[in-house]
Symmetry: C2
DNA sequence: TGAATAGTGTCTTTCAGACAATATGCC
DNA sequence: GGCATATTGTCTGAAAGACACTATTCA
């Protein structure tokens, strides 16, 4: 593992921080924007809720580490995942110097299923409006993530991550309303969202209740696209 | 350096990557967007141009590390500095696993002065349109930074970082044109930039050449503000 | 036919973009 | 007066926002 030029070039001689990834998994459930939290079983912050996360392995990229943690903690795969920000205050972790690369992921509520093996009391989704006290600087990370999500909603198709494959325009509008925290005019919303060309109508209708069924749409692309 | 089960609570026993900060210092000079590069004196990529950067010390935050490197390499202080993105491919550095947190900084050309002690052949500003081959994945970092700068120009007052305290509207327009890579109509530019309320007129005029002098403006705030 | 949600169009205002003539200073 | 850059306003088209009625299904 040593470099042959070790005397000069061996960076392994420096003190090194630990590096983790932490994950913000957003979903929408019961008309609320929620995030996945896990209850810590160890010191520090034992018993407190925290973002899922873990150490970056030496042979995996940051993206891979985030994907792996996401899969391990929530069973979620193939969802939108993007690096958020790196938090590295020297005292943010009382154990040692830990720098964490935060990621955020989006999943429609249909897409995640918490592992059956997991004690439900130790992992769960919490409304971002009613979060418990969080370990480390995770509160700050959550707020940063919500800001990012809210602003990307305005200039990208990022909402595809929070709706199922097919959805009604009313479903989609609700997503926008929940995240932006305000009501949107139905006609203006439809006019605008359809004019972006991001959506394609399907041939399906949503039969649901004693009223006119809604035409279902899908996102033409499920890759992140910026508009404007 | 081997992990054992007992090491669970002692994160210091895990293999740890090295963490660096790399810096993109943007400036505008000779009607070009330029970045600061330094010539590497050591393996790997000896003799090749690279972004300035260095290891994060155990007792400093990432922001502090970036500020320190910026000061050490360019003598620049008190300029706009923002975290860009964290790059962590396992093989991006041939020495060992190195994760780098990239920052970008902006300085008006009046603000930097390369240290007299530095051999000019080993540090310099390069137009982003004519970059030499860069070490590591620094090309990718540069491109990411330019994208960020270009997009922030559209919805923030970030241009304050690239102009001196006082400037004419023509000066400012040039900054936009250089970064966006296109010509802008003078009347429309003035209309729009003045309507944001980000600028305040000063009482000074720029006397420069045999023609009408330009009124100088300044940014009302030199903190980053998003508009729209 | 009543209840519930889906679906639709117009008007007004605002903003972006195209476009050219006058103003002011120095020589 | 000539030169060089600064400064200014109108028109048009597109998009955003306010606003209310009709359509469809099921019970």
């Amino acid at each position: 593992m040593m470099n042959t030029d070790a005397s000069k070039y061996d960076v392994t001689k420096f003190d090194r921080p630990s590096v983790t990834v932490d994950l913000l998994l957003f979903t929408i459930e019961d008309e609320e924007l929620k995030i996945l939290l896990i209850k810590r079983k160890e010191w520090p912050f034992e018993g407190m809720w925290a973002l899922p996360g873990g150490f970056v392995q030496m042979d995996e990229s940051l993206d891979q580490a985030a994907k792996r943690e996401l899969r391990e903690e929530s069973g979620v795969k193939n969802v939108f995942l993007e690096q958020l920000y790196t938090f590295g205050e020297p005292k943010r972790d009382p154990r040692t110097r830990v720098i964490t690369v935060a990621y955020y992921a989006l999943a429609a509520s249909e897409e995640w299923n918490l592992k059956a093996s997991t004690d439900a009391s130790e992992v769960g989704f919490f409304s971002v409006k009613e979060l418990p006290e969080l370990a480390f600087d995770h509160k700050e990370i959550v707020e940063y993530g919500i800001d990012r999500l809210r602003s990307k909603l305005g200039y990208s198709n990022i909402a595809f991550g929070l709706v199922p494959e097919e959805f009604s325009l009313t479903n989609l509008q609700k997503v926008y309303e929940i995240i932006l925290g305000k009501n949107i005019d139905k006609r203006n919303f439809r006019k605008k969202i359809l004019s972006t060309g991001l959506l394609s109508p399907t041939t399906h209708k949503q039969m649901k209740g004693a009223h006119r069924p809604a035409l279902l749409y899908k996102f033409s692309s499920r890759k992140l696209i910026n508009i404007d």
